[in-house]
């Protein structure tokens, strides 16, 4: 048995050994292939522009972050958009003209005479991650004691609170924190001001290859997110998360500190959401309250479900697919339909369409496009071989045990 298992493992890692580098290579080359691909017959029109892919990647990063919370640890978070917002506004605070009372520059790509705090975006990305992590802990501490549905409802509440705070945050006791409905814009670009001597652009927004540069860094950030995600999953902490997902009571009895472990899942999931939010804010040069509504939380959750909860590669693929449909695919399809003379615009029904996708997935492939190994095994081997679970129940006491779970 063991040798068979290890051989299966070897086979799988062999597949990964060439598949992963190939995908990474193709990903890196996409901005250069895009021109050629978009002229192809039939599929050419469906190729997303490099700029669209940057957005897709930002949302996929958030989905991979959300996957740590929902997929690994089994905590249903319906307010993940809050972390996206914190990330985006961190970029707004530390890399824009928003705080015009002060003028502070540190390695920024913009001119030195601009007012406001202008830190280099590299530092802002880290700061956004850390601040978001902190907000994850702040939100998590009071809520993570709750189980299941209750937690979902409370996170839903937080997801609603954040955009309201942001929208009305132009006068916190007279202090303009978020600039209200106008949002914060422009936000500084990413760049290499220090390395410009060796030919790297000091400012992506004004460089000739704006989208390609943003793409490159986004792609590397996504790889970093996936890498961390894989490492965490296969660690002591990752095991504890999965144990909590499977049976919280048993996990606690085996010495897993529930609050701390769940809070870490929340904080680390938030971290990547914050980094992605800040990067995306820099790419589109602004943070606006209208970006942070509940539908984004649902959208991200759909990515996780479509890809396969807990499965990093699944979530990555699911995220890319849904983000593609949202930011490019549906409108392209709409154009095709209109060209064919039909009056139907799928972009008007986007959330209905995602809903249908999720329903179909639940019916035909409930574990997701690329299911997590554990889920796949369960589906392949069936659940018929675990019927012994409830042998010898002890009447009233056992029922009470259960109701206390």
């Amino acid at each position: 048995m063991t040798s068979l298992a290890s051989r299966a493992q070897a086979l799988r890692s062999n597949t990964n050994a060439w598949l992963v580098p190939l995908v990474i290579l193709l990903g890196l080359l996409y901005p250069f292939l895009e021109d050629g691909l978009s002229t192809l017959p039939l599929i050419g029109d469906f190729m997303p522009t490099t700029g669209t892919v940057v957005v897709m990647i930002a949302f996929t990063m958030m989905a991979v972050g959300l996957n740590i919370v929902v997929g690994y640890c089994g905590l249903l978070d319906l307010g993940y958009v809050a972390f996206y917002a914190v990330g985006a506004y961190t970029a707004g605070w530390f890399a824009s003209q928003h705080f015009e009372q002060v003028t502070f520059h540190l390695g920024s790509s913009v001119d030195n005479d601009k007012v406001g705090i202008h830190l280099t975006m590299w530092l802002v990305l880290i700061l956004a991650g850390l601040l978001t992590m902190l907000s994850g802990i702040v939100i998590g501490l009071p809520t993570l004691r709750l189980r299941g549905d209750y937690l979902a409802i409370v996170t839903l509440g937080f997801g609603e609170i954040i955009p309201q705070v942001v929208r009305n945050g132009d006068s916190f006791g007279g202090f303009n924190l978020t600039n209200g409905t106008f949002g914060i814009a422009p936000i500084d670009p990413v760049g290499f001001p220090v390395l410009s001597a060796i030919g790297l652009p000091d400012n992506f927004q004004t460089s000739d290859n704006r989208e390609r540069w943003y793409y490159l860094i986004a792609f590397l950030l996504l790889l970093f997110t996936i890498f961390c995600s894989v490492r965490l999953r296969d660690s002591r902490l990752g095991r504890a998360w999965i144990a909590i997902r499977e049976d919280e009571t048993a996990a606690a009895a085996m010495g897993v500190p529930l609050m701390r472990t769940k809070t870490w899942a929340y904080a680390l999931g938030a971290f990547f959401g914050g980094v992605a939010g800040a990067y995306y804010a820099s790419f589109k040069s602004g943070a606006f309250p209208a970006d942070f509504y509940f539908n984004i939380s649902v959208f991200l959750l759909c990515m996780v479900i479509l890809g396969g909860m807990g499965s990093i590669w699944g979530v990555t693929v699911g995220g890319m697919i849904l983000a593609y449909l949202n930011f490019s695919g549906l409108s392209t399809i709409g154009t095709k339909i209109q060209d064919a003379g039909l009056n139907f615009d799928p972009t008007k029904y986007q959330f209905g369409i995602y809903g249908i996708i999720i329903v179909l997935m639940m019916l035909f492939r409930p574990a997701g496009l690329i299911p997590e190994r554990r889920h796949r095994i369960e589906l392949e081997e069936g659940v018929h071989d675990t019927p012994f679970y409830d042998v010898q129940t002890e009447g009233a006491l056992t029922d009470r045990d259960r109701s206390n779970d």
């Binding site: 298992a5 009571t249 010495g255 042998v391 002890e394 045990d401």
Partner: protein, 259 residues
């Protein structure tokens, strides 16, 4: 009398609404002994376990484990102090492999943090490798020499019971709590298990408290027996004393003998 007690429970009381599930129970477990807790269905044995392990908060009373008051401590902290347990209705992490189950049990004995997990330093890799080796040893020791990488949910029933014990041993306990460990086992398996419990105690210097319905197992393995009925302790003593105790026969064994 200078008996070295690992556990000293004083006036432990647990009420669920109007129901008194544990009724001012005094209870001690001498270090290094195998002690059984018996009683008819609904006598409050599992509730007692759950208070010992921090799953339930007692209404009043005190539990001192190895010199530390554990009432009001969270379950994971109690586990870290050295109480490992199994569950009456098996609660394995069924999607995880047998080894991973034991590794979760070893959680509080390992140290890798978040940064270490991501960087996967040499120290982290070594800890992980050693933990895996030890988990496999524990599995083999607990009677699971093969199928270490099988999903826990796919193991046969008896093996799942053994895996629960291995997982509890993974927490490196001083006190091992076994909640109906032989439930659903055939007589031969029960006999093997009885021998196993004794061996664990001798090899690892553990103290064992078990809840058990199978009187053959109870009388065969335990050195001291406590009988609960309706949440209250009605008798305590050696197996011979318990077998001769009028009240116990009336409350428990008597019913069994009549059937």
């Amino acid at each position: 009398m200078a008996v070295d007690n690992l556990v000293e429970v004083t006036k432990l009381r647990k009420e669920f609404g109007g129901l008194v599930a544990t009724d001012d129970v005094d209870f001690t477990i001498p270090r290094g002994r195998i002690v059984a807790l018996i009683g008819p269905n609904g006598a409050g044995k599992t509730t007692f376990f759950n208070q010992l392990t921090g799953v339930y908060k007692p209404t009043s009373g005190s539990i001192v484990f190895d010199g530390t008051e554990v009432v009001n401590m969270p379950p994971h902290a109690i586990t870290a102090l050295g109480i490992g347990r199994t569950f009456q209705n098996i609660r394995l992490f069924s999607q995880m492999s047998a080894v991973e189950n034991v590794l979760v049990g070893m959680h509080c004995r390992l140290h890798t943090g978040i940064v270490g997990s991501i960087l996967r330093t040499r120290k982290v890799k070594r800890e992980e490798r050693e933990a895996r080796d030890r988990a496999r040893e524990l599995l083999t020791y607990s009677g699971l020499p093969r199928r270490h990488d099988d999903r826990a949910g796919n193991l046969p029933y008896g093996d799942q019971r053994r895996l629960e014990v291995a997982r509890a041993l993974g927490t490196d306990p001083k006190l091992l709590l076994l909640d109906e460990p032989t439930a659903g086992m055939n007589p031969q398996e029960s006999a093997e298990f009885t021998a196993f419990v004794r061996r664990v105690r001798d090899d690892k210097g553990l103290t064992v408290l078990l809840i058990e319905h199978d009187m053959k197992v109870v009388m065969g393995v335990s050195e001291r027996i406590t009988v609960l009925e309706y949440g209250a302790k009605i008798a305590e003593g050696s197996p011979a004393e318990i077998q001769a105790d009028e009240r116990v026969i009336e409350a428990y064994l008597g019913k069994g003998a009549a059937a």
